[in-house]
């Protein structure tokens, strides 16, 4: 199935494409050509695999969550441990791939956008490793909320540029990064952190993330009955799902950020509540107002509050191959505490959305069935947020 798209125009069914200013088109064509060559170059692929192994820490383990499974009393729950990767999340897989491609294409500088700072940190990390000059665009508001990650990127030698336009968050950082890239395409590569943006980005990021699912499929003794991942832009989910798309017995679930509830205006549930439109160069589902202005989404998790979603997810939703469901902040935190206290694994709040949906799903299944979760990142970065939420809850109860 996945071999048949994207088509030559970068389409996943009606979704995807290249909705960008003419000034960007040449750069996209150059990238497309460079990527096409690289993906059939054995030396390039060998180097990518080598770096994933020796530097990022692949392959990542598959953990059977015995106590968590018993708590739920349904299917056996397995965790694909992307949280154990260098820099703490799956983002590094893609950052390594794109940095190697930048080098191969003779680019000396890289730019990226970041929301919470995870992709920014991964990008700054590979920039340091390969001696590439690195600029990270980050919403001014996000810089305030994620001061530690800003410092971490700067420590790695990157320049963090505040995005002061629009709502001063991830979507605006993405706009600014694209605007900067347009003016500096000669020597600069733009590293997108998710399966979003104009073609070939959603395709490229999928190819650099599919290692997650390829490995997990090999590691499972038999095919899982359900696979669950969280979706913001959707890169860890695509990385996990791709290997399983052609397995009709495997049910696929995507957990999007329901924020304070999809009946409220404060959520980032793009597929549950959004409609079709164009964001950052791609036709997909997005959260917008009646006039087609993009609305700033909300989630407790900075990695999921993106108003769009990768075009392949839009397609998989319409094809009904993947079932997408919104998970609220409260459900995610609840799942996070459960996983932490039964397994001693503190997940990122993003990944906790997947855990929450998996727990719901597993509870309806039997003990001879299995659920595989993509545990996309670890929660060290979120400890302050979690402490805030949990102490508020206690305050409310007393």
């Amino acid at each position: 199935m996945q071999q048949s798209y994207p088509d030559h125009k970068g389409r996943y069914g009606p979704f995807g494409g290249k909705y960008v200013p003419e000034t960007v088109m040449a750069a996209l064509e150059e990238l497309e050509a460079g990527l096409k060559e690289a993906l059939v170059d054995d030396a390039f692929l060998a180097e990518y695999e080598e770096v994933l192994k020796e530097y990022a820490g692949r392959e990542t383990p598959l953990t059977y969550a015995k106590r968590l499974s018993e708590t739920v009393g349904g299917a056996k729950i397995y965790l694909k441990r992307e949280d154990l990767l260098h820099t703490g999340a799956h983002k590094i897989n893609n950052a390594i791939g794109q940095a190697l491609l930048a080098k191969r294409m003779g680019k000396t500088k890289i730019v990226a956008e970041t929301g919470a700072g995870q992709h920014g940190v991964a990008t700054a990390t590979v920039a340091a490793k390969y001696g590439l000059e690195c600029k990270i665009f980050m919403g001014e508001k996000d810089m305030e909320r994620q001061k530690l990650n800003v410092f971490r990127m700067e420590l790695l030698g990157a320049e963090v540029v505040p995005a002061t336009s629009g709502s001063k968050t991830l979507k605006d950082a993405t706009n600014e990064a694209i605007r900067y890239w347009v003016s500096h395409v000669d020597d600069t590569m733009y590293l997108i952190g998710s399966v979003v943006g104009p073609h070939p980005y959603p395709y490229m990021v999928r190819e650099f993330q599919r290692v997650i699912g390829d490995e997990a499929k090999r590691q499972m003794e038999q095919l899982p009955d359900a696979v669950v991942a969280c979706v913001g832009g959707g890169s860890n989910a695509i990385g996990m799902f791709t290997s399983f798309l052609d397995e009709p017995t495997v049910q696929l679930y995507g957990a999007e950020a329901g924020g304070k509830g999809i009946e409220t205006p404060e959520h980032a549930a793009t597929l549950s509540k959004g409609d079709r439109g164009v964001i950052h160069g791609s036709l997909t589902y997005l959260i917008q107002d009646e006039h087609g202005q993009i609305i700033e989404p909300y989630s407790i998790s900075a990695g999921l509050d993106y108003p769009g979603i990768g075009p392949e997810h839009a397609y998989l939703k319409d094809e009904e191959r993947v079932h997408y469901e919104a998970i609220t902040d409260a459900e995610a935190i609840d799942a996070l505490v459960k996983l932490t206290q039964t397994e001693g694994i503190l997940p990122a709040i993003e990944s906790a959305h997947a855990v929450a949906l998996a727990l719901k799903t597993a509870s309806t299944m039997t003990s001879d069935q299995s659920v595989l979760i993509c545990l996309s990142g670890r929660g060290d970065k979120d400890v302050d947020t979690i402490r805030g939420v949990l102490s508020d809850d206690k305050g409310g109860e007393s």
Partner: protein
């Protein structure tokens, strides 16, 4: 003949100002349309404000924000054009609009409504050649033109785009976003020459055209000039006066004098 085509074909020193509709208010936009027509503009590029304007620099982003604060939408802009026409202003109007508001409105409905209101053409900056089939067909169905852009990096794309250009071919003078610049990209001359060789319609150059000397240089070479950010900046400067009915005419006169100074050689 379509009004944009007529204007482009009969003026060899095309002057095309750009303003954001609803900046600072819709009323002012109608006045500005008249002022620009009286200042010698041949075509008015009217920007539809958008939350995520990828191709625009800070000046036009700020103008779009001011306009969005006023509640401007694609529907408002179409209604404004109807008012502009009702006021007897005949300058050809090209709507500069990002694709998402058009899709949300419904592409066919938007083009039809705009055409009926008196719009003559569209420029959709994030709808490149590869994606513009339906928009172009629909525009033509309603007697409108779809303006195409070429950039210094377009290389072999220039020929394909220029060959199918309608009205005028918009040449982006430099890489990056809209905004005021001191100098043009060094690749400008080579690329414009390539574009004009393939184009069946006149050329107009924009992005960074901000001074009388820029306009004069382009006109001497036989190309049109699009001035956006520099005029929008002037509107920003007089924002308070423009909002005040008692001071508006004074501000409009200042802007008129400024715009005339851009084109007087």
């Amino acid at each position: 003949m379509n009004r944009v085509e007529a204007a482009a074909n009969t003026n060899n020193q095309l002057f095309i100002p750009y303003i954001v509709a609803g900046d600072p208010t819709i009323e002012v936009t109608i006045d500005l349309a008249r002022v620009l027509e009286e200042s010698g503009a041949h075509i008015l590029e009217l920007g539809v404000p958008y939350s995520d304007p990828l191709a625009d620099g800070p000046v036009i982003q700020a103008a779009a924000n001011r306009s969005l604060q006023e509640g401007t939408s694609l529907q408002t802009v179409i209604d404004t054009v109807r008012q502009i026409r009702a006021a007897g202003i005949r300058i050809p109007i090209v709507l500069f609009c990002y694709v998402n508001p058009i899709l949300k409105y419904g592409l066919h409905d938007a083009v039809k409504a705009a055409s009926e209101a008196g719009v003559d053409g569209w420029l959709v900056p994030d709808l490149p050649y590869e994606e513009n089939d339906e928009m172009k067909k629909t525009c033509n169905e309603y007697g409108n033109v779809l303006i195409s852009l070429v950039a210094p990096t377009s290389n072999e794309r220039v020929k394909r785009i220029a060959k199918e250009a309608q009205g005028f071919l918009y040449c982006v003078s430099s890489l990056g976003v809209t905004g005021v610049r001191e100098e043009f990209d060094h690749r400008l001359d080579t690329f414009i020459t390539a574009a004009s060789e393939s184009s069946s319609v006149p050329l107009a150059v924009g992005f960074g055209v901000s001074k009388r000397e820029h306009v004069a240089r382009l006109h001497t070479q036989g190309y049109g000039a699009v001035v956006g950010s520099r005029i929008v900046k002037e509107i920003e400067k007089y924002e308070t006066m423009l909002r005040d009915p008692n001071q508006r005419s004074k501000a409009l006169l200042q802007i008129k004098t400024f715009v005339q100074s851009l084109v007087s050689s």
